[in-house]
Symmetry: C2
Subunit: 303 residues, 2 copies
């Protein structure tokens, strides 16, 4: 068989494998997202009940009942638990903590003194509902609840809390946001800037691994995967913004960031595939989620 | 001996006992506060180093090197550890976490959208140094570091993190601050308002108890003591403000809140004295700190 035909067959096999992964990821999401919604409702229900509009603002920020975005971070947590041989349901509280932490960061990012966004997911931002002070306290309240959820994990509660504290602090998400606001794009600040996204995407997967009792080797491979995914997401997201600018005639977009994002993802998947002891179904789910999360045209993904 | 003379003798004995308690508390503070300062320096040193003025703002907010207020909350943590038969040094990280959490709350309270204070302890408030967004991220960073410190406790890391999450969240400090900002003083909101102070004063003592491996009975007695102390502090502090208003001719202050504060403290001390298994020296330290913390005239304390 000529090389070109073999290449075409291999590409077809790969495409079919990816389609199967995407189908399984969709089924997995359909199964666990409703359970997550129940857990989130329990986790934040009644928070701020004494405080007028605060309780409603908390539920809306978290998106209880369906307006909560794609929830890809907790899906990574479930998939990581599966990849480490665990039952994703065991990671329910931990996955909720990941989503609640993400929500806290969005509430803060939208503040007038930060990114000054009036809407989030098509609805008024939290500070539009309860004022900036109220929004700050909602975010703090959400972090507090996330800590409670992580500490209550049947496995590794203390380790989860330690990693989470680092994840959202000044060497993680808060530091990344500060670097972003400062507008510095060089040296150490550039590395810190990445943490805005990578800290939580990495924590999302290692948290699932910890909830499933994974060994250190699996955890490290998954952490690297989570970091690569977060970084690829940010690169591709920025590229999308740049493309929109280019469409508006402002400048010519470079394809380099997207190529870099695609390469990061591919290397991370290859490392996952090489990590012994991971359940193939879970690793396949992680790959499928990664591909649906990172906004790359199919051509770049296949590259 | 006539009753009045016996009364006078009892009062003298009580006064001497209190003097001894105060002396021991002073010696205890002199011993552990420098160690706490070292721990705080290690805990927050380098945080925000990539971010221009942020690192300095963090150190100043925490008061590393001596401008950090009386540090009565971590002193309570040390004393509680002692009361539960532990070595206060074992509670070092936990005590630092208590102080760092307190600092985070001050940084947020001073924000223009909250209490709008330009100075703290005679120095510019954090938001005056790094802007409101920077101050919010400093506070988040401090909370993250506090979580790491608690999770690293050699004993009960997960339990400490769970209690701490509840302490600073919407059922604790953040909820109390929200109630205060809303200006509601009735029903459930009034109870929540107390949490602004009592949540952390209670956590400070139970954290020390957990670090020392105390049983649930001791922990509960200490938690009640911490709550009473926090509430008495708030009552007496408000009474002081009211007295200043009265001195300015605005209204006639009531003595009721101070009497109530003194009564709360006395009952809490009596409960401590009745709790079996506590080390008397530690309980004496807690009483002495309580009396130095709550701003009551000596006459009310003795009442």
């Amino acid at each position: 068989m000529p090389v070109t035909e073999m290449d075409a067959d291999l590409r077809l096999i790969e495409a079919l494998r990816r389609r199967r992964g995407a189908d399984r990821a969709a089924a997995f999401s359909s199964r666990y997202l409703p359970l997550l919604d129940d857990e989130l409702r329990r986790a934040v229900g009644g928070l701020g009940a004494e405080l007028g509009g605060v309780e409603g603002a908390v539920s809306r920020a978290v998106g209880v009942g369906g307006s909560g975005g794609r929830r890809w971070r907790p899906l990574l947590t479930f998939a990581a638990a599966r990849a480490c041989g665990g039952d994703p349901a065991e990671a329910m509280g931990v996955a909720a903590a990941v989503e609640v932490t993400h929500t806290a960061s969005l509430v803060l990012d939208d503040l007038p003194c930060m990114d000054d966004d009036e809407t989030r997911r098509g609805l008024p931002a939290t500070h539009r509902l309860v004022g900036p002070a109220g929004a700050i306290l909602v975010a703090i309240g959400l972090l507090g609840r996330a800590g409670e959820l992580l500490a209550a994990s049947p496995r590794e509660g203390a380790e989860l809390c330690a990693e989470w504290g680092r994840c959202f602090g000044l060497r993680g998400m808060a530091g990344g946001q500060a670097a972003d606001l400062a507008g510095w794009r060089t040296g150490a600040t550039r590395r810190l800037l990445r943490e805005k996204t990578t800290a939580l995407s990495s924590f999302a997967v290692t948290a699932g691994a910890r909830a499933a009792g994974a060994d250190a080797g699996s955890r490290e491979a998954l952490a690297a995967f989570g970091r690569a995914l977060g970084w690829a997401y940010q690169l591709a997201d920025d590229a999308q913004d740049e493309e929109q600018d280019a469409a508006a005639g402002r400048r010519c977009p470079s394809r380099a960031p997207r190529r870099h994002a695609a390469r990061l993802l591919r290397l991370a998947e290859e490392r996952l595939a090489r990590t012994s002891g991971l359940v193939p179904e879970g690793a396949e789910l992680l790959s499928a989620f990664a591909r649906s999360i990172v906004p790359l045209p199919a051509a770049e993904h296949a590259a």
